[in-house]
């Protein structure tokens, strides 16, 4: 009996904590979305509201009237994120293929090397990277934010772990007997088999590139090249000091696409975190 009662108490405790954390996760975003539709006067009177108001369009007008152009930021972020996702997915799978399928003398040292450099963050190499890019006059060139994705050690690591049990050598052998070239075998046999792993890693690579602030902030000086996170940082500036509604709207516009995509793909994203336990 007492065992049962303590189980009941435990359950209640679990749900109380979980509901509290749910509120904690959602509350800031809810306030943000609601305030995006409210006027500055309304927000000044009561900054918390659980229901929307009717000032969405006027907030939008104020927001776009100043230097904030979310479309430009959106397109630039999309270009960079999509480009680097495609490159990192394709070339990481290719590198993993080299590590799994072929026997070559430097294979083991190469893999150890990839593991060793996996965690080196962009921050500590930024001064040299900036100087290099500056010297060749490419600071405002988006390709400098895309091409480095060809070498993504943590994705190679993940792909290799996934490929070992998934890819059978027999299929490759029989394709060879049929006369297919090595590149063709990779593109037509290995890539489709790796689809689930590629999808998982693509989501993470896309999100981390989309959210990246440091590298674009250092390299991009031209307003036309700004990414969404840099655009967001403009909302901090003095020109929006008293335009509360517009600031909330600007923030909402950057969050909304992410939340929509997240809710659509949450199952895969969480499975991916569990599977990888390596930050993308």
């Amino acid at each position: 009996m007492s065992e049962k009662r303590s189980d009941q108490g435990m359950k209640i405790c679990i749900y109380v904590v979980c509901v509290f954390l749910t509120i904690l996760s959602l509350f800031p975003f809810w306030i943000m979305f609601m305030n995006a539709t409210r006027s500055t006067t309304e927000i000044q009177q009561h900054a918390i509201s659980f229901v929307p108001s009717t000032y969405l369009l006027s907030n939008l007008k104020i927001l776009l009237g100043k230097s904030f152009d979310p479309m430009v930021g959106f397109m630039n972020s999309l270009t960079i994120a999509a480009g680097s996702t495609v490159l990192s997915a394709y070339f990481s799978t290719l590198t993993a293929y080299a590590l799994v399928v072929y026997e070559w003398r430097l294979k083991k040292p190469f893999f150890s090397f990839i593991m060793a450099v996996m965690m080196i963050p962009a921050q500590v190499t930024m001064i040299g990277f900036y100087q290099m890019v500056y010297r060749i006059g490419m600071t405002n060139n988006l390709s400098m934010l895309i091409l480095p994705a060809i070498a993504s050690p943590s994705i190679v690591f993940f792909m290799r772990q996934y490929m070992y049990p998934a890819l059978s050598m027999e299929i490759i052998q029989s394709a060879r007997i049929d006369g297919a070239g090595e590149f063709r075998i990779f593109n037509t046999i290995a890539l489709p088999i790796m689809k689930p792993a590629i999808a998982t890693q693509a989501i993470f690579s896309f999100v981390s590139s989309w959210n990246n602030l440091f590298t674009p902030l250092v390299l991009l000086t031209d307003q036309e090249k700004y990414t969404l996170p840099i655009m967001v940082s403009l909302l901090r500036g003095d020109i929006y000091k008293t335009e509360y509604g517009s600031v909330y709207l600007g923030l909402s516009m950057t969050v909304l696409p992410l939340i929509v995509v997240y809710l659509l793909l949450s199952k895969y994203i969480i499975a991916g975190v569990a599977l990888g336990s390596v930050k993308g």
Binding site: C18, M32, S112, M115, A116, I120, Q123, I127, E182, N211
Partner: protein, 323 residues
Amino acid sequence: MQTKKFSYAKWGYIFSIPFVVAFLIFSLYPIIYTAVIGFTDLKGLGMTDIHFLTDDPFRNFKTVLSNPSFQTAFQNTVVMWVLNFIPQLGLALLLAAWFTDKRSYVKGQGFFKVVFYMPNIITAATVAILFKALFDYPMSPMNDLVISLGLADKPIQFLISKNVARAIVIFIQFWMWYGYTMVVLTSGILGISPEIFEAAVVDGANRWQTFWYVTIPNIKTILLFTFITSLIGGLNMFDIPKLFLLGGPDNATMTTSVFIYNQAFSGSYLYNRAAAASMIMFVIIVFLSSILFYLLRDKDEAQMKKASRRRAKAEKVAVKGGK
């Protein structure tokens, strides 16, 4: 096994070329270049000429290490990481233990996981500015809440207090990452063989004993992995402190990454000092990464052994089955 594998060896090299080339250009060269700049007098907007320091090659490193701002930044970074990681790990462990407990299934845990993980995918830059708006003065949701609840009769200037500012950065980091840590730990616990838990139940272990003596020892590797990846991430904390209060008030939320950025890219253009500071952080991170390297190598070897054993077993079965 009859096929001559060595004849395909060159493809291993060919398929690795793109990675190696991109790595050399975009990672290795910048690392070396950064290290070199650390020994030069390179400063000023648009300067690229390199002159090595001849009198004292380590001058930049000494200047950085004795710079009070850098010391503060380093302290802040470590303190803010520690104070966010401990509650983050604690809560993540608790939730992971609850969600994996077979004795009582938590209904709706799929939903809870999705919600708890959500802050992690939101742009950190946006989160930083959102929290600044939430705590602003004189009117902000937080002030509205405080006044409505009768905790204060006039708005509070939350963000001029060093401790409050630091506490909010710590909270944001905690809030963004506990969901991630929970998912990782949950998968670790689910990887433990269920027989061990069944044995614990048979032996009459209660929940707490099971957690402490069965779960924790069995996810030691994953805990260490989480610890080190989080530490490396924490040492590079940039977006939140940079955009929340620009490292202020009075450098209270300045991290080493913000310090490096400010040295190099705002106002003073002291690339040499920023490079020296980067290299100091680089050395610390390399040290931490090497721990991780050994950790993953062991895990990797075990996994490969398991895979090859599975393959051998499958072959045996195939041989038996194939008449």
